[in-house]
Symmetry: C2
Subunit: 265 residues, 2 copies
């Protein structure tokens, strides 16, 4: 089955189960096991870090067909009654054949919210807005973002994992100031390596501050290892907005391609 979910990451130690920590995976699998009475292994589209939020996270899990037939139709309502208010499952459906929440995905979209207002963040949005202490030059940030578009080795912006490529295709990367003054960084890629979005935002903030020139973030693309000069932006400004998948007939092929690229690259 496929689950679509949203969460406020504030009180979670990220997605992935860790002993003794409250995690989204732990809370969600606990709720599913309570309702389904079998262990449920979850595969997630975007393994968000501690403090990062999600509006449109996607998960898949295998459950016995008889069990799905019995409670699939009422699972959204049942989960709403069992889950805490900081995580909500908005939809449950039968996953098409070949669907893999992680490897079938074509692209992910994240938004980072930051305000440079002297008075700080709107109190009702403070859990997903970074309050930045200096004025931000948004056109400079937008220009720096545009220079990063395309397929590159983002090693400078990644926490390296052994045996995994850091080549990614950055498909959209914009920075705009809302009418209310809030600055919104909007980024889409086929996938992101660990800490990549927050490193990209950290590099743009240095440009927005005037501490670095517009060309600086793109100049780091020649690096083959993480750039220590790049500050990782705090997690609470970041939200995973949605995950996009190909048409059903292409799901399995897409998953095969992605698995090969990520492990061999």
């Amino acid at each position: 089955m496929r689950l679509d979910l949203a969460y406020d990451g504030t009180e979670f130690a990220g997605w992935a189960v860790q002993p003794g920590q409250r995690t989204v995976q732990g809370v969600l699998s606990g709720a599913l096991e309570l309702l389904l009475r079998v262990p449920v292994a979850l595969t997630v589209a975007g393994r968000t870090d501690a403090g990062v939020h999600a509006a449109g996270q996607v998960v898949h899990a295998d459950v016995p067909a008889a069990m799905w037939a019995a409670i699939g139709g009422s699972l959204v309502r049942r989960l709403a009654g069992v889950l805490p208010p900081d995580v909500r499952v908005s939809a449950v459906s039968v996953a098409p054949p070949g669907f893999d929440a992680r490897f079938s995905a074509l692209r992910r979209r994240y938004v980072y919210r930051v305000t440079d207002a002297r008075w700080g963040a709107n109190p009702l949005r403070r859990q997903d807005t970074l309050a930045w202490p200096r004025a931000l030059d948004v056109p400079a940030m937008a220009a720096a973002a545009e220079l990063l578009l395309g397929e590159h080795d983002f090693a400078a912006f990644c926490r390296r994992r052994a045996g995994a490529t850091t080549i990614r295709a950055l498909l959209a990367f914009t920075v705009v100031r809302d009418p209310g003054g809030m600055v919104r960084v909007d980024v889409q890629a086929d996938a992101f390596c660990h800490s990549m979005v927050r490193s990209l935002v950290g590099a743009l903030l240095a440009v927005g501050d005037g501490r670095r020139p517009v060309e600086w973030p793109a100049s780091l693309l020649s690096r083959t290892a993480r750039a220590d000069e790049v500050t990782v932006a705090p997690p609470h400004g970041l939200t995973l907005m949605w995950v996009q998948y190909p048409p059903d007939a292409e799901l399995a092929a897409r998953a095969d391609v992605t698995r090969n690229i990520r492990t061999l690259g």
Copy 2:
């Protein structure tokens, strides 16, 4: 001086100072007294109840001219450093002559957010969204709201205060469903009596549920006392959006008129 402020009402026992309670007035006057080193009496445009939020609350206070000259220009930044993150002062300015945050106001606008999604409220907006357990008929709610427009005695929707009129002019009252499914009740009046917005929303929810006909809320306008059948909607869905004032030259006259109406009516 005039202060414009926003707050998340979740952790506040409302606006007004109460012994032993954390209130917005108490926290704000404490911060001002720390910075100004004199007692500061605050007059507020909308005395919000416990749990009610504000995006554009307005306050006035008298401070010595020499003190204003010394730190007026840096007060927004200083307050940002002293106030907790759930209350923010977005602007401080010299109030024009005759300005009274409460009595000079021409109109107030409140928004109530409610979702009838089976899965509940978006986790990142759960502190200002009511999760309603049944499907809402939004066109019926909008029609019921429209029948309440105009100047009426809203006694049925007010917690009576001795010697005060309950006649109010309802200037706008709309109910719309956002593209994302969220239902937004938007209401403007010259002023609201105690618990009036939440009583109006409670009456509309009974219509939206199908428990009451569209004409029911307006039929209560003939009452001269509070209608016990009206359920007061929970506070956390409600936000004071803004307060509107007349041009500077009319501020004092407006305050005189309002004071007379409210006490004699």
